[in-house]
């Protein structure tokens, strides 16, 4: 999906939960609980998405086309429980990248006035 920049900009700034969900899906499809675990691991336990926040975000992101649902299959670590898996879309990737750029710009600006660590 070749999303046009204007429509991508309309998603920004991305809510924290949505950003982390996109990041967690960058390398592989995951089910809901898998996303929670991945986010928790990636942030060293600093951010633990609650179930409500997670699924509310997922519902919205599905509607917006940032995610798609892929086929249901048993979760590897859960033996017989069937789970829905989510996959990031091209638009989702583009939006995540745009958000990163936005954040990078902010950091650069902050550095310029000495508010952030690193070189000015």
């Amino acid at each position: 999906m070749a999303a046009d920049p204007a429509s991508i900009d309309s998603f920004l700034p991305l809510p924290t939960a949505a950003f982390h969900i996109l990041l967690s899906l960058a390398d592989s499809d995951r089910h809901g609980y898998g996303i929670i675990q991945e986010v928790e691991a990636r942030t060293d336990g600093e951010l633990r998405l609650s179930a409500g926040t997670l699924y509310r975000s997922i519902q919205r992101m599905l509607e917006q086309g940032l995610l798609v649902e892929v086929d249901e299959r048993p979760a590897p670590e859960e033996d017989d429980e069937r789970r829905r898996y989510y996959r990031i879309t091209a638009l989702g990737g583009a939006v995540a990248r745009a958000e990163v750029q936005r954040l990078a710009k902010l950091v650069k600006m902050a550095r310029a006035v000495g508010f952030a660590p690193g070189r000015a």
């Binding site: 809901g32 609980y33 609650s50 179930a51 409500g52 699924y55 509310r56 519902q59």
Partner: protein, 870 residues
Amino acid sequence: MAAADARARGERLHGALLRLYPASFRLEYGAEMRADFAKRRRRSGGIGVVALWLDTLIDVLHNAVRVHFDVLRQDLRFTFRTLARAPGFTATAVLLAGLGVAATTASFSVADHVLLRPLPFRDSDRLVKLWESDVEQGGRNVVSPAHFRDWKRLSHSFAGMEDFHTQSVNLVGDGEPQRLDGAAMGAGMLPLLGRDPLLGRRFTADDDRHGAPGTVIVSESLWRSRFAGDRAVLGRKVLLDDEPYEVIGVMPADFTFPNAHTDLWTTNRFGNDSFEERSDTYTEVVARLRPGITREEAQAEMRGITAQLAKSFADDESITALVLDLRGEIPRQSRVLLFALCGAALCMLLTACTNLASLLMSRAMARRRELAVRTALGGGRERLLRQLLTESLVLAGAGGVLGVVAAAVALPMLSRLVPPVLPFPAAATLNLRVLAATALITAITGVAFGVVPVARACMRVNAADLREGARGGAGERRERLRAALVVAEVTATVVLLVCSGLLLRALMLLQDTPVGFRSEGVLAMRTDLPLPRYGKTAERVRFYRSVLEDVRAQPGVTDVAFVTDLPMVRKGGMWAIALDERPDREQENYAYLRYVTPGYFGSMGIPLRRGRDVAESDGAEAQPVAVVSQSFVDLIWPGADPLNRTFRFANQQRRVIGVVGDVRVRGLEQESPPQVYLSYQQVPDDNIIGYIPRQLVIRSRLPAASLVAAVRGIVGRVDPRQPVSGVRPLADVVSTEMAPRTLQARVLGLFTLVAFLLAGIGLHGLLAFTVSARAPEIGLRLALGAERREILRLVLGRGAALAAGGIVLGAVLAFAAGNALRAVLAGVSPYDPVTFGGALGLAAVMTLAGSLLPALRATRLDPLPILRGE
């Protein structure tokens, strides 16, 4: 084992908690959320379980609200998109809802304002008014100061009793002289009403003493307009009818006592002479019921007191006291009218709502497949219901906004339906309670008719709808419901048609009533001469003559005269006629007393039948003369020559010099007692002061506008302190008299027109729907060789059957409604056959018009594609 039990209980509790989410969300993610919860639960123990529960509880509460909000936002977006795609439907639905809300809100606001809302006084429901009433004839009359004094002294039912009388005065201070409405009252009146001045002080007993220096409290509006809202107005001296008064206070804007156009208040300052004449009735009595005393108890006590007074004073025996609440003054006609108005508004709300329901239903039918698909695809019933609900509420809400705006525009006009006799602001304001109630009714209608049947139908038949081409089916029940709605609409329309028809007949009847004078080309204005200065008749005659002479010299003026009062403006002023030959019958015949200058009959266009007009030669020293009306002659000397006969009237023996045509002094709706006109020079000095001529009537060939400034100039030259007020064409007097009727006919007519159109549209909508639903059947009949005429008859017959139901029901209700309206029909029979015939005829026309199009469409159906199932 116990641990497994606890876990199962916990999971059930968690499941219950998840119910806070919308069902669609639960359906989608509930299983996973439950699984996630179970997993976390397995991993935590001891204090961790408590933390987990707390965490989960907060999470659910926090997110459930947001998810609901997300759904609402989505539904709203979807609603706006679908409504924008069907602008015709949207506009019609909003208009329908708006009409219903506007009509009911406006009508009920006026009714509430007039009949229910507390008057602007402390504990106003404990206030009553006391009236004199004739033991035998009943009625309601103002009170004499002597009676008021005795009632106050003898009664125990009241915490306080005060009196007031209205009076118009000439205000002279800096600026133009001004004619103002005021009231003189007892010093205790303001405390009795529980009101304080905005500025300054109340009256004290000292202000109310006989001979005390004049004190006046002015209204807020007068304070602003005349004294520029200056706080230094207190202590200012003004002249009221040439007498000096000191301004001691300003009343707040909402103090509308005794009515909305009262601009100043003074004290009674009764002297002993005020109490001498026990039958000199001119004052009005307000009292506050003592706590625990009911109006009926007070009434019983007053009956005893008046009986007791009758024994002590011979002249009192026919007088009793009436204790009425403050709203007792609202004329019966106005009450009836308000009820009629509210009834009409309800009829209109009914037709509007049924049409709205009908509209929503046919739209839902058209969208049945779409809805069924959406239900089947998931999201479930709850999502569908919420969607429909949002749509209905948005439509009702938009209609509500439109209705409020329309009601706000209509209110001032509707307020004029009630004469401004009551102590409250003249115009009703929008009433929030009523507004909320009507909005609720509209919303409920939208939900009850737009959502519930559709949702039920969709859920039951969605499988069938998906399978076949969704033709007909499932329509039977809904069609019955719609048929009932159409019958209701036709019923309401017939009732309204009959009621407005009756009012229209009454109006036409009155318009044809001869008033007895010709108002075209006549200009009227008032110059009320203040009494101390103009107490002597000779003084007034000088004023009248100077003014008349100069006005007569104006270009275009053909006739000009002064008279006591205009007919229909002052409806009272009668005296007993006494005859020398029949002294025993003194109290039986009454006639209107009016003093006139020569030329009055010419100015008014009242025909002189015999004899002559009053002349300048009928001076103070000459024999008192009288011009009488034809009905006077018919009553007193039927068949005889009245000229030069004498009768006793207004304290003097009078000789008849002329006979003129009758005038409807009491207004168009009432027969008028006879009229007697006396010479303006023959008013005794300082006597019968209520009848001195003050009204100037000018007949002119030129437009009135050019004349007004000239006459003002003339009056100003003759007496610079004399204000001119009440400038208006004489035709205004008649149209003012007719105004409430014209207005009621118009308002009801408008309601009727709308209901009429709505019912026609409703009928059309139902039949069009029936025809398309029955297209296969009709097609089959056509294919089998049925004549097109038969099809036409089939559809028209269906329309006629529905309309007939409504017409019969409506006619029955209209009988009842017409009967209730009797008080405002001015003698037109509530069962007037012409009106009923006309209304039923119109209903038939409406039926035909509503049915014709669908019927014709049915006959033009092409059977082949229908039968092929396309």
